[in-house]
Structures are given as structure tokens and as C-alpha cells.
């Protein structure tokens, strides 16, 4: 009976009801998709790089004569090792969240017909595996004599480590150890599988292949120089890096320090995801503003209706309705409007998600986000209506006898 009463009243305010329901529908659609996008960004930002970021710093120099790089490597490594608290200095071509280096397409046959995807090649010297802290899950790490000199970007014939996800992609359900792959004239044989090693720019490819990396052992030289990995105790890392940045001018006065890329790995990660943080912040801001506008809209509209219906409320009170009945009435009314909005909003959320999927690299909206949006809006509606409804409940039965 109560519900019929509510429906009868809402029919008299058809347009305003539809408008507020549409507002809620749109809010529901934007809310679920925005929450999903925030979750996506946060997942991306939490990507497991597979290396001991907190103990590592990178020092990058450029502007030297590449023919002098063997001498440069020796000088820099020795010079940086002399810095207090440095545990190890190794030579590597790139690190996760640093500059892109060594991205290449690979094939699982020598003729180059079976394309395996684009992967990141990390090339490093003997100490770099231990410095990175790579976790082996199968096979073994390269021996000392597996580190060979390079005459190009990669060693020509290397025994390599690949990540578990790359192994699963290239050889599903088969033991990857001992398998071979090629990149043009370069040949690689898998000797070990590592847990994780994120590509240098994880957002540059789709999230499924953000962990498709290869680690190739090599000796420092003309093609492996200028990028140095420093390892120290977590608390010493910032200090070690600033000492190293200062020392490089004395160690190698002829090089140019790449200040932007010479950072601790934690800082490199922080910088790499800056735009995602900004975007997540903006999405959160939109959600908050949107919920506030919706809540205030409900407060405003209900206040009007309460004022407008003072007489009818008074009459209902006079004929026996309790304060709780009046309160309930407005709560039920709000619940109905919001529910109507949510029903429409869920459909709209899915349509919006399909549009987003078409134009942006966004996966399907998991259905769990629909009830999240719905429950948030129900709670918001009940919260917003409480003030005006309580106010309505205080209308005395006396009002019924007055003429306005």
C-alpha cells in the first residue's frame, strides 16, 4: 500500500523523477567505469619488476667515443666500487622503468617464419644477475664462460634466461629448457627460467606481454657500456647514487652524465608511473565531485518535495501515521528512484565500457563493478535523503488544519 502511495506521488512529478533517475544512471555508469579504470592503473603501477628495486640505482653516461668504451667501463666500474657502502657495480644495457633498449621481434625457427612476439633483451655482465636479484624457477644461471664478447646489439650465440610468462607463451605445456629462438642472425638457447623481469617500458605494449623479457649474458665492451647498476643496502641507495653522480665527473671527465636516467630504481618506477598516478587522481576527483553533486541534488529535490507536501504530510500525521511512517515514505521513494536509475545505469555502464574498449586499450568491465556502483549509489541516496526526510518527520499534524 505504501509503495502504491509513493508511485502515485512520483507520477505527479514525472519529469523531475526521470531527470534525477537519469542523473543517477549516468553517475552509475561513470562511477563503475571510473572505478574499473582506477583499479587498472593501480594494477599496472604495482607490476612486479622481478628485480630488487629498493637496493638498486642506475648510473647512465653518454657522449663518449664508443671506441674507448672498454677503457671507460674499467674506469667507471673501478671508480664506482670505491664509493663507500657500494656492494656491487655491474654493466647492463637497461633496467625496468629505465630507457628502452634491446626490444626486438623473435622467431622460434632459424628461417624467421614463426614469429614469437616482441620481447625486451636485457644484456648484462657477470655480476648483474646477482645484483638484479633475479629469481630462478627452473634450469640454471649462466656460467662464467657463457658471458661472451658482443660485436653487435646482442651476443650472436647466447645461453639465455627467459621469464616464465614468455616461456608459457612461446612453448605452452612444454619444458622450455634447451629450446632455441632467433632474432635475425642472433641465436639464443634457453638455459633457465626466471620468475619475473618486466620489460623496460611496461606500458608500451599490452599488459599481457609486459613481462616478456630475455636476459642474455655478455662481456662489457663497445656494445655494453655507459649504463651501470649499483647495488647497496636499501638505506644507503640514495646516498650511494648521489656520491656516484658526483664522482663520475672525476672518474670520467669526458662523459656527459644523463641526469634524468641516473636514478634509484624506486625513483625510476615513481617517475615512470607519474602520468598514471595523475590520471588515477583525476578519476578519483571526478568520482568524488560526481557523488557530491548527485547527493546535493537529491537533498535539494527532496527538500522541495517536503516543503511542497507539508500539508499532505500533516494530514497523514493527523489520520494516524507515525513519524517513522513519514520517514520511511521518503526513504522508500528515494530507494525507488535510485533503483530505477541504477537499473538503467548498469546497462549504460556496459555500453560505455564497450565504447571504451573499442577506442582504448581497456579490457571487459568485470561484472563485480556493477554492484559496487549500485551499492554506492543506494547508500548515497539513503544518506542524502535522511536530512530532508527527518525534517519531514517533524511536520506536526496541526499543519493539516491550516490553509496556506
Amino acid at each position: 500500500m505504501e509503495i502504491q502511495l509513493v508511485f502515485a506521488a512520483l507520477r505527479r512529478h514525472r519529469l523531475a523523477t526521470i531527470l534525477i533517475a537519469l542523473e543517477i544512471a549516468l553517475a552509475c555508469a561513470v562511477l563503475s567505469n571510473a572505478c574499473f579504470m582506477i583499479a587498472n592503473r593501480l594494477t599496472m603501477m604495482r607490476i612486479n619488476s622481478g628485480v630488487d628495486e629498493s637496493s638498486l640505482a642506475l648510473l647512465q653516461v653518454t657522449g663518449y667515443d664508443s671506441n674507448a668504451s672498454i677503457d671507460l667501463n674499467a674506469r667507471v666500474v673501478a671508480g664506482l666500487r670505491a664509493i663507500p657502502n657500494v656492494k656491487s657495480v655491474s654493466v647492463i644495457n637497461a633496467v625496468p622503468f629505465g630507457k628502452q633498449a634491446g626490444a626486438s621481434g623473435i622467431t622460434t625457427d632459424a628461417a624467421g617464419e614463426h614469429f614469437g612476439g616482441v620481447v625486451d633483451f636485457y644484456v648484462g655482465n657477470l655480476g648483474s644477475i646477482k645484483a638484479l636479484g633475479l629469481k630462478l624457477v627452473a634450469g640454471h644461471f649462466p656460467n662464467t664462460d657463457d658471458f661472451q664478447p658482443m660485436s653487435s646489439y646482442f651476443p650472436t650465440d647466447a645461453k639465455v634466461l627467459i621469464t616464465r610468462s614468455l616461456a608459457a607463451h612461446l612453448w605452452p605445456d612444454v619444458d622450455p629448457l634447451g629450446r632455441q629462438f632467433w632474432s635475425g642472425k642472433f641465436h639464443f638457447r634457453v638455459i633457465g627460467v626466471i620468475d619475473h623481469l618486466a620489460i623496460a617500458q611496461p606500458e608500451s605494449r599490452s599488459s599481457t606481454n609486459a613481462d616478456w623479457s630475455v636476459f642474455a649474458p655478455a662481456l662489457p665492451g663497445k656494445f655494453l657500456s655507459g649504463t651501470y647498476l649499483l647495488r647497496a643496502n636499501q638505506k644507503d641507495v640514495p646516498r650511494v647514487l648521489s656520491d656516484a653522480r658526483a664522482a663520475i665527473a672525476k672518474i670520467a671527465p669526458d662523459v656527459v652524465l644523463d641526469r634524468q636516467d641516473s636514478q634509484t630504481l624506486s625513483e625510476l618506477r615513481h617517475i615512470y608511473f607519474a602520468s598514471d598516478r595523475a590520471m588515477a587522481g583525476m578519476l578519483l576527483g571526478v568520482i568524488v565531485a560526481l557523488l557530491m553533486v548527485t547527493a546535493l541534488g537529491i537533498v535539494g529535490l527532496t527538500s522541495f518535495w517536503v516543503q511542497q507536501r507539508r500539508r499532505s504530510i500533516g494530514i497523514r500525521r493527523a489520520v494516524g501515521a507515525t513519524r517513522v511512517d513519514i520517514l520511511r515514505y521518503f526513504q522508500v521513494e528515494n530507494f525507488l528512484i535510485v533503483s530505477f536509475g541504477i537499473a538503467l545505469g548498469m546497462l549504460l555502464a556496459l555500453v560505455l565500457n564497450m565504447l571504451l574498449m573499442k577506442h582504448y586499450e581497456l579490457p571487459h568491465l568485470p561484472l563485480i563493478y556493477l554492484p559496487i556502483g549500485a551499492i554506492t549509489l543506494w547508500l548515497l541516496g539513503q544518506f542524502a535523503v535522511l536530512g530532508p526526510a527527518l525534517h519531514a518527520a517533524t511536520v506536526p499534524p496541526m499543519v493539516a488544519t491550516r490553509t496556506e
Binding site: 653487435s152 635475425g184 590520471m279 541534488g297
Partner: protein, 438 residues
């Protein structure tokens, strides 16, 4: 009569200050958010060379013989194809382009050497892309053919090295080579750096880097290749180069070509020329694919999807937000006018026409819309300040230009009318008799 309506409206709005403020705020925030994002989108997706872009074309051929699907020719050319097309001189103007970075130092300036970005290009680059000069000028084809050691430097670099003074004639040490500065650019910030856009469809929507600053130094193509020999990066290779960094004879794509074609007939001719070239190269056994493209500047930017996907997403989000604010305001105004049914009915009974009631209500909602619009404009300025503080390469580009200023006004008026019309229309349909039965 209008003044009277205005007075009535102000009185009505004052009666419920909190609600009026709420409606004004909702419209302001909605307009502020959508105009901020729309302005950023407008700045990033605009024509970087208005009036000229339709004459500039980006030829593409496919030198890559490897099997597999070739739906589009690669974004950049190999050295030989680029040189062949350039040497043919079939266009009104043409510029070869290669990007690299190198160490630079100015003798007599007390600064440590620094890394700079160098664009190696041909003489036509400057007139073709309307590059503005502060001092001196670009070079001529003579310098191109003579491998002259001359450079043009950016305003930024000139400020950094020479404190903004006229540095024409001074020496700049590039790598191991002494070059003579012959020109200094005015501050030049094309948005995006259209001439080096490539590979956008592999960027996964993260195309913000296309909006970075142009290069620090510009050298003749022939000289640049010698000065920085061994330090050139590839876009893509179908065979790893034997001598990395030295790419002239490699199987790599790394040289871009832009051409200027002044008439439609010339565009057709050039298209035929490109097709002919690809056919000829196939006969020679160098190409296996004869697909060619000749996109104009804007088509090339579109093809590369230069507008960062985050920017588009933000714009959609802001407009959804504006729609929510609008629904909110319309709903509230409607409720407000309906509450005054009695009053309106009385006025109608006393002889006020529907039009009069409609106008009166529209004035009231118009006031809310206008104040909201002004608030929105203010918030747009604040919003653009916030964009300035963002960690993106295009942050410094954000500003409100005249056209977007006007769009904000039009949007504000449109929004306020939209918000006002429905409630006013409902209000004026109140029948006089019904409301007097009390």
C-alpha cells in the same frame, strides 16, 4: 518588463540561497571540467601549420622484403629509398629528416658539455615548415651538397649557452666537429612536433612524447650523418645492421622524407611517381612489396593517432560529468518552479500570458546559467593551471586561446538555456483554474 522579471528572479533566487549556490556550483564545475579538457584536446589536435598543412605530404614505400602481412608500408624509409626519392626532386620542396643525439659544447662558454638532440635535414626544411628565425637564417642547397659544417640552434639552446645573445658566427662543438652557427630560431613549439611523428599506432595510446620540444640543433643532412656517424638509431630493421649506428647501407628504416606539393595535379603526379618507383625497385629485386602511401600532414597525424588516449578519455569523462550536473540543475529548477504552481496559477488567472510566465522562468534559470558560466570560465583558468603542473610533455602548451574562450561562453549560454527551457516550459503550462481551487 525584463527589469521586473530580473527583480523577481533575483528575489526568488535569494529566497533559497543554498539551493541557488548549489545549482550555480554544479554548472560551474561541469563547465570548468569540460572546458579544461576540451581546451587541452583542442590544443593537441589542432593543425600545427594552418594554411600550409594541406600542401605537405609524407611519402611511404615498403623496402622490407620479409614475408608476413604488410598491411601498411613502414612509417619511415631506408636510406636508399629516401635518397632516391629526394634526389629525383619531383616535389616543389622536400626535406629529409633524421634524428639523433650527441654531445655539444660551446668554446668560450663556461659550461660542461651537454647532450643535445640534433635534427639532420635538408635546406628546404626551414621555408617548408615556416620555421621562424630570430637571428641569421637557414642554409641553402650549396651547404647540403658541400657537407658544410654549419648549424642552426633553437632559442632554448641559445638562451642556455649564450644568454639569448646573437650567436650567429660563433662556433659550436658537435661531437668532435667544429661547426659555425648560422641561424638562431625564435621560440618554436609546434604541437605536435609533426615532422618527426612516426610509430604512433604502436604506442598503445601513450603518444604524449609527440608533444615534446623540437630539437636543439639543426644541421645539413649530409654533414649531420658524418658528424654523428655511428650514433644513429633505427626505427626498425629487417636485418640487424653489420656496423651498428652506421646505417647508410643497412637493412633498416631510419630516414623520413617530407615533400611539399603545391597543386592537386602535382599530388597526382607524385603519387604516380611513387608507384613507379616501387614498381621499378621490385623489378630490380630490391622490393617485394609495391604498396605506397602519400598522406598529407593532417592525415599522417590522424594515422598515427597523435592525440594521447588519456586526453580523449578525460574529455569524455568531463562531458559525462557536465551532463550529470545539467540533469541535476534541471531537476532542481523544475522542482522549484513546480513548488510555485500556486503563485504561477494566480498570475495566469490575473491575465499573465503563457509567454510571460515562460520568459519569467527563463530569466531566472538564465541568471543561474550565466553566473555558472562565469564560474565555469574561472574554473577553466584554474583547471588549465592544474594541467600546467601535470607531469606530461604538453603541460606547458595549456592556455586558453580566443576561440576556446568564446566556446566557453557559447557552452555556458547553451547549458543555461538547456537547463532553463524545460522547467520554464513546464511552469508555463500550469492551468490557472486548477491552482485557484484551494
Amino acid at each position: 518588463m525584463f527589469a521586473y522579471y530580473l527583480e523577481l528572479a533575483v528575489r526568488s533566487l535569494k529566497r533559497n540561497k543554498a539551493l541557488t549556490l548549489l545549482m550555480v556550483l554544479a554548472i560551474s564545475v561541469g563547465i570548468g571540467a569540460s572546458m579544461t579538457t576540451l581546451t587541452v584536446m583542442h590544443l593537441l589536435s589542432g593543425d600545427p601549420l594552418p594554411g600550409k598543412s594541406a600542401e605537405l605530404f609524407y611519402p611511404q614505400v615498403d623496402p622490407d622484403p620479409s614475408p608476413g602481412k604488410h598491411t601498411e608500408p613502414p612509417d619511415i624509409m631506408d636510406y636508399r629509398s629516401a635518397m632516391d626519392l629526394w634526389s629525383a626532386q619531383r616535389a616543389d620542396r622536400q626535406a629529409l629528416i633524421v634524428d639523433s643525439s650527441l654531445k655539444l659544447m660551446a668554446p668560450g662558454v663556461n659550461l660542461p658539455p651537454l647532450m643535445g638532440t640534433m635534427l639532420s635535414t635538408t635546406a628546404d626544411f626551414f621555408p617548408m615548415f615556416k620555421v621562424p628565425f630570430e637571428y641569421g637564417s637557414g642554409w641553402t642547397t650549396n651547404e647540403d651538397t658541400n657537407h658544410a659544417r654549419v648549424t642552426v640552434i633553437s632559442a632554448d639552446l641559445n638562451d642556455k649557452l649564450f644568454g639569448g645573445a646573437n650567436s650567429v658566427g660563433r662556433t659550436l662543438h658537435l661531437g668532435d666537429t667544429d661547426t659555425r652557427i648560422i641561424g638562431v630560431l625564435k621560440p618554436w613549439r609546434p604541437s605536435p612536433v609533426f615532422y618527426s611523428v612516426a610509430g604512433g599506432h604502436y604506442a598503445n595510446g601513450n603518444t604524449a612524447a609527440f608533444y615534446s620540444k623540437p630539437e636543439d640543433i639543426f644541421t645539413p643532412f649530409t654533414s649531420g650523418l658524418e658528424i654523428n656517424a655511428g650514433n644513429f638509431q633505427t626505427f626498425n630493421c629487417w636485418h640487424a645492421p653489420d656496423n651498428s649506428g652506421h646505417l647508410e647501407n643497412s637493412d633498416c628504416e631510419w630516414v623520413a622524407l617530407w615533400v611539399q606539393l603545391d597543386s592537386a595535379a602535382k599530388v597526382v603526379d607524385y603519387r604516380n611517381f611513387l608507384t613507379g618507383y616501387a614498381e621499378q625497385q621490385k623489378k630490380l629485386g630490391r622490393f617485394t612489396h609495391t604498396d605506397t602511401r602519400l598522406r598529407d600532414l593532417m592525415q599522417w597525424l590522424d594515422y598515427n593517432r597523435v592525440l594521447p588516449s588519456d586526453v580523449r578519455l578525460q574529455t569524455w569523462l568531463a562531458f559525462a560529468f557536465l551532463a550529470i550536473c545539467l540533469f541535476n540543475t534541471v531537476g532542481l529548477l523544475l522542482a522549484k518552479f513546480m513548488r510555485r504552481r500556486g503563485e504561477i496559477g494566480l498570475r495566469r488567472a490575473l491575465g499573465a500570458s503563457r509567454a510571460a510566465v515562460f520568459t519569467q522562468c527563463l530569466v531566472e534559470s538564465g541568471i543561474i546559467g550565466s553566473i555558472g558560466g562565469l564560474g565555469g570560465l574561472l574554473l577553466t583558468f584554474i583547471g588549465l593551471r592544474l594541467v600546467h603542473a601535470q607531469p606530461t610533455p604538453y603541460a606547458d602548451l595549456a592556455h586558453l586561446d580566443l576561440s576556446m574562450f568564446l566556446v566557453t561562453f557559447v557552452l555556458a549560454i547553451a547549458v543555461s538555456l538547456l537547463a532553463g527551457t524545460i522547467p520554464a516550459w513546464q511552469a508555463c503550462r500550469v492551468t490557472p483554474s486548477l491552482q485557484l481551487k484551494m
